[in-house]
């Protein structure tokens, strides 16, 4: 432990002048500027662009972390995420897709973080709520709806905007319906029940093509409507010449960005509210929390419902963006994927969940495919790599390793929650005190190990 603190202080000594004071302004502005320039001058899809893109994303975290004036952070954020990245996206659509995916999963990770991180309830079926939102829009915006009642036709695409609220409410309702019976259970039972529920939703989606064809079974729902872009004429008048697909990419990017921002604000406000502290109390010591008068089940239910509602909204967006959904999109692996994001970043930590979402999405979409092509080149030169081995096909292995290694070596995550880190530090000190005192000869401390 002492080594980590000394290296941390060295790290702090290097980064301190860069994160506060006048040098920080210059450094951050320069960092963002250089990354932007590099991105915009080299928009091809290749390894160097990947690296710059990751650095660019990291710059946002550096800005967030630094102690500069809020207006400066906002300006940098707007310039980087609101202008540079979308413009870069028009040059290379692959990266804006990565950014949009990262945004969608950021919201999901933030939502799951409320459940797992804040309230300490392990939910292994989180993707079920995402599926509910996605299938709701998928069914209502296509002719599937006519199968339920022939008098109903697909809703107007413009209804997408109110449907975001519908997705939120559906997620909320599903969360409450699942939560009400199971939240009295102990944590590890809850994990299994939610896992079972996630499977149930997937199996239902897979089999609800009979007796009435609602979900179209394993074929999935095609031709899901995209909403009309409200400001399309304005954009065209600005002289932007772009076809529909490009415009929709930008549209979904901005939409996701807005939802992510709203989510971050809501989650951060919740965390520091009375409710957030109640969650934390339940997570740390349920009995003590109840003794303090915290309504245990109601608070857990609230965490469950809030987490689920974020997933419901994003489900609607996801269905509309992908145009196509099918049951395997919402399998257990996806839930675990989101859980890995939360754990990698640090349970209970908002920037951690965002960092985790960005890292895992990039791992999925950029790093593993890149690794695969590197391996294939190595194969061509005769390196002893099995022909069948394709890293993109072994996500489970990577996520499994990630979960186990994180739990063993850094259970608090890459970017731990401040308060949690302080608590852990406190524990370390008291442990050291005990060691120094040598009061115990061999008590329960020895039996465990």
């Amino acid at each position: 432990m002492t080594t980590s603190t000394s290296s941390q202080s060295l790290w702090q000594r290097v980064t301190a002048p860069l994160s506060s004071g006048p040098t920080a302004y210059a450094f951050l502005a320069l960092y963002v500027l250089i990354c932007s320039a590099l991105l915009l001058t080299n928009p091809r899809t290749e390894l160097s662009t990947d690296i710059v893109f990751v650095l660019f994303m990291l710059s946002m975290l550096a800005v967030y972390r630094s102690r500069v004036a809020t207006w400066f952070k906002v300006v940098l954020g707007v310039v980087a995420l609101g202008i540079v990245l979308p413009y870069f996206g028009t040059l290379n659509p692959f990266y804006i897709d990565v950014a949009t995916q990262a945004g969608i999963f950021t919201t999901l990770a933030l939502g799951l973080n409320v459940v797992v991180g804040f309230a300490g309830l392990l939910d292994l079926g989180y993707v079920a709520f995402f599926a509910v939102g996605a299938y709701a829009w998928g069914i209502f915006s296509t002719t599937r709806i006519s199968n339920i009642n022939p008098a109903w036709g697909p809703v107007d695409p413009v209804m997408f905007y109110p449907f975001l609220i519908v997705g939120l409410i559906l997620g909320l309702i599903t969360g409450v319906l699942l939560g009400l019976p199971v939240l009295r259970l102990r944590g590890d039972y809850l994990a299994i029940v939610t896992l079972g529920f996630g499977e149930v939703i997937r199996v239902v989606a897979n089999n609800l093509d009979r007796p009435i064809n609602i979900t179209n079974g394993s074929q999935g729902i095609r031709d899901i409507e995209r909403p009309p872009i409200v400001i399309v004429d304005l954009v065209r008048n600005l002289g932007v010449v772009a076809d529909d697909n490009r415009l929709y990419q930008l549209f979904f990017y901005y939409l996701v960005l807005i939802i992510v921002l709203l989510t971050v604000i809501v989650v951060a406000r919740l965390k520091n509210s009375r409710i957030g502290r109640a969650w934390e109390a339940i997570r740390e010591d349920e009995v003590a929390a109840v003794a303090q008068g915290i309504p245990r089940v109601r608070m857990k239910l609230l965490a469950f419902a809030i987490g689920a509602s974020f997933a419901g909204v994003m489900g609607v967006v996801f269905a509309s963006k992908q145009l196509f959904i099918n049951p395997p999109t919402f399998d257990l692996l996806r839930s675990i994927n989101i859980l890995a994001m939360v754990i990698l970043g640090g349970m209970g930590s908002i920037p951690g969940a965002m960092l985790g979402a960005i890292i895992v999405t990039m791992l999925d979409l950029q790093i593993l495919p890149r690794l695969a092509s590197v391996l294939r080149e190595a194969q061509a030169t005769g390196a002893p790599i099995p022909r069948q081995f394709d890293p993109t096909q072994y996500q489970r292995l990577f996520f499994g390793l990630l979960l186990v290694l994180m739990m063993i070596f850094r259970p608090e995550g890459l970017w731990p929650d401040e308060r949690r880190r302080e608590e852990q530090h406190e524990v370390e000190i008291s442990d050291e005190d005990l060691e120094a005192d040598k009061v115990t000869t061999s008590t329960s401390a020895n039996t465990g190990r």
């Binding site: 199971v182 259970l185 299994i192 029940v193 149930v200 675990i336 099995p386």
Partner: protein
Amino acid sequence: MAVDTTVAPTPARQSIGELLGVVFGPVGQLLAFIVGSATSLALIVILLALALSPSQPDIMQRVVIILPQVIIDGLVRGFLFATIALGYTMVYGVLEFINFAHGEVFMIGGVVGATVSFLLVSAGAMESVPPLVFVLLVVLIAMAFCGTLAVTVERIAYRPLRNAPRLVPLISAIGMSLILQDLARLVMTNSPLGFNARYQTPNFGQPIQLFTMQVDERSVPVVLSPRDLIFIVAATLMLIALNYIVNATKLGKAIRATAQDMPTASLMGIDVNRIIALTFLIGGALGGAAGALFGLRIGTVNPYMGLIPGLKAFTAAVLGGIGNITGAMVGGVVLGFLEAFVAAYLSIFTGGNFSGAAYADIAAFSILILLLIFRPSGLLGEATTQKV
């Protein structure tokens, strides 16, 4: 220090009668539950058919014809869940921790069995091996391999986390389960086995005709395939052996003591780490044997086949009362019957609108959810207060 009441100070030597009682008492209980759940489910189905028979005259016949076969199917499923559930419940009893990777141990058991069978086939020795020797060979190798695997997993991924908060080892176990799935896939796809490995067996002979049933002047033969018979016999033998180990040996007493109170057990001179490792060894061996037998019965194995049986076996363990060994067997059998009946009769009673096979999984998980709401301690479990 108060002496535990359940780990009673038994005399050093037990009389034969006591021994038989300890070993076969749980088996008798299991038998009672088998008969009870099979008859009550059959009654429910027949009553439903009676209720529907005015509108569908032939429904009674359709229901009765398949009934014996459904009961056999339920028995096989039940023994499958029971053997896997034992691994969950033993580990839970000792560590209060859901060993999520146990379903994968079961899968690996199947893969090991398929490998043995592949080796025999490629050596050209499959035909010359007597069927019984083949079964023994496959099961023993799978038990040895999977027992070792379970102990290794415990050593790597769970032991360092033993004093951590509850969620930490659970997440580690989920990670371990994913790792095992993909490692198995990596090995299988890069070997002659392939993703869907064939599991060849010697010729077990013709199905055994138990009796013929007269339904409306038609005689329907009721058959038991030799593979099902092997499964049922092997599972029963393993359950009896486990009961002997846990209830009648010193090792079993140590396991029960560790489950009841780990610090005290350690003060009484029990090497707790060794007992935990042995618990994983026994649970893993049972899971591996179940996998090898299951693969033998269905003929192919794949690296993702462990998840759903694992989940259902966990459901069975909860159904019987988690931590309770007899409970795991009873829960497994009850769940197996329920599932077999849903799978067979759902589509008959809904006029083919809902496919029973697809919704059987939902039935299992709905039972889990309902059970946890109304009787979280399970069928045989005692109401326990939550340890905080």
